[in-house]
Subunit: 237 residues, 2 copies
C-alpha cells in the first residue's frame, strides 16, 4: 500500500440535471438537460456537464448543489449521487476523478432557467458530442432515471405535491420515451397514490382530480443512506 | 467556480468484501467480512475496511482490486462500485474522500484466506466499532447486497458455475438472514435457472441435481456501465 496519497489526482463533481420540457419535434413532454460550454482547454468550446472542484469545507452533495446553481442557476428538487468516474485516460490533461450526481428540476423552475451564452438546454435525445466521457455519463444517468421511475416516486420531484393522473403519466411517458395505456397506468400507480379533495380549477365540466403520493410510498431505494447525515439524497421541496 | 482544485483532499478506495462461512452461534451459513487492523493514527488499533490510496496510473476499480489483494490476500469473483463517501468530518486528520467498492468472494477462496495479525474475518452481525464511518458503509453495503440478491444472479459469484437448489437457497437465506420456504423459493428462482445433466456425486440414493443460471438472466443492473470500458463491474470468474 502506498504510504501517502499522490498529489496528481484532482477531485471534481459534475451533475446531470433533468427537467421536462416540450420536445421541438414531437410537441410532447420530453427530458431536457442543461449543458455548459467549456471556456478553456481541454475540450475548449465543447458542451459539458455543469460541475467544478470540490472545496475543502463542503460535502460532496453540497459541492454538487453549489456547482449546479453557480453554473446553471437552477435549484434542484431532488439530488442523488450517481457514480464516481475515474478512468485514467478520461481527461486529456491531469488525472481527474469526477463524482457525478443527478438532479431533478421542476418544470416551473426549469422554465425560469433560460439559456445564456455558455449555458444551453438540450433534449436528452439530441445531445452534441460532449467533452470528456460526459456522453457516457449521461447515458448512464438516463438509465438510472428510467429504472427509478418504475419503482419509486421520483416523478414527484418533477411535478410538485399534487398532480393529475394525466400529468403523472406524461412524466412516465417522457422518461420512458413510449406511450403508456391510460387504464393500465392508472392500475399500476393507484396503489401508491391517494386522491385529494381538490380538482384542477378552470371550470371544465368534469375537471380532473388531483392526487398525491401516499406518505408510505418509498421515495427512493437508498436504504440506510437516505437517513444518514451524509445527505446523499435530498428532496429540497 | 474555483479555478483550480484544492490540494487538501485525499482520494482513497476501500472495499467491503463478503463471503459466506458458518456462523459460530447458529452453525448456519452467514455473511462474513474481513477487516484490517489500523497500524497508525487516526483510529490506531481499530478495525477498518481494507483500502488505500488511489495511485495515478490505475482506474478506481483497479485500485480497489489491488488494495484488497494486498491487504487481505483474497481475489474477488465480483467487484462493484458502491458509493463515494465524502463528508467533511469523516476523518479526524485531513479530508479524505473514499470511493467504496463491494466484492464477493467464493467460499473456497475465503477458506484459504486465514486470519493474520492484522487481518481478521468477522460475521457481519457481530462487528466491532470500526474506524471512521466504516460501520455506516458496511450497513449500506449489506443493504445493497440484500437488494441485489433479490433480482440478479449475484449468488453465482458466491457459488461457482453450478449448484444445487439447496445451495442457492442457503446463499439467499444467509444474505437475507431468514429461512425461506423450499417450495416457494424453487418457484421464484426456477425461471432464471436451467438444470444441467449432472448431479452431486457421492452415491446418495437421490443425489440432488446441479443447476446453472440462464445466460440471459441479468447479472446485475448496472445498465450501460456494465458494458463500458470503465470496468465498474467485474466478474472475474
Amino acid at each position: 500500500m502506498a504510504d501517502s496519497p499522490r498529489d496528481g489526482i484532482q477531485l471534481a463533481v459534475s451533475t446531470v440535471i433533468f427537467a421536462l420540457r416540450e420536445h421541438p419535434d414531437t410537441g410532447l413532454s420530453a427530458v431536457w438537460i442543461p449543458l455548459v460550454r467549456r471556456i478553456k482547454e481541454p475540450f475548449l468550446d465543447r458542451w459539458a456537464l455543469p460541475g467544478g472542484w470540490v472545496t475543502e469545507p463542503e460535502s460532496l452533495a453540497d459541492a454538487a448543489a453549489r456547482n449546479l446553481l453557480e453554473t446553471t442557476g437552477v435549484q434542484p428538487s431532488y439530488l442523488e449521487q450517481l457514480y464516481a468516474f475515474g478512468d485514467v485516460e478520461r481527461s486529456t490533461s491531469s488525472r481527474v476523478v469526477s463524482i457525478v450526481y443527478w438532479a431533478l428540476v421542476r418544470a416551473d423552475q426549469a422554465e425560469q432557467a433560460t439559456d445564456g451564452d455558455n449555458v444551453r438546454w438540450f433534449p436528452a435525445d439530441h445531445l452534441p458530442e460532449l467533452a470528456f466521457d460526459h456522453n457516457v455519463i449521461i447515458e448512464y444517468a438516463l438509465w438510472r432515471l428510467r429504472t427509478k421511475v418504475e419503482y419509486s416516486r421520483i416523478a414527484h420531484a418533477l411535478l410538485g405535491e399534487t398532480f393529475t393522473l394525466t400529468e403523472l403519466r406524461n412524466v412516465h411517458e417522457a422518461i420512458l420515451r413510449k406511450p403508456l395505456d391510460p387504464a393500465n397506468f392508472r392500475r399500476q400507480v393507484e396503489g401508491s397514490l391517494q386522491p385529494t379533495d381538490a380538482v384542477v380549477s378552470g371550470g371544465r365540466h368534469r375537471p380532473p382530480r388531483l392526487y398525491r403520493y401516499n406518505a408510505n410510498t418509498e421515495l427512493v431505494d437508498n436504504g440506510p443512506l437516505s437517513h444518514e447525515k451524509t445527505g446523499s439524497t435530498r428532496v429540497i421541496s
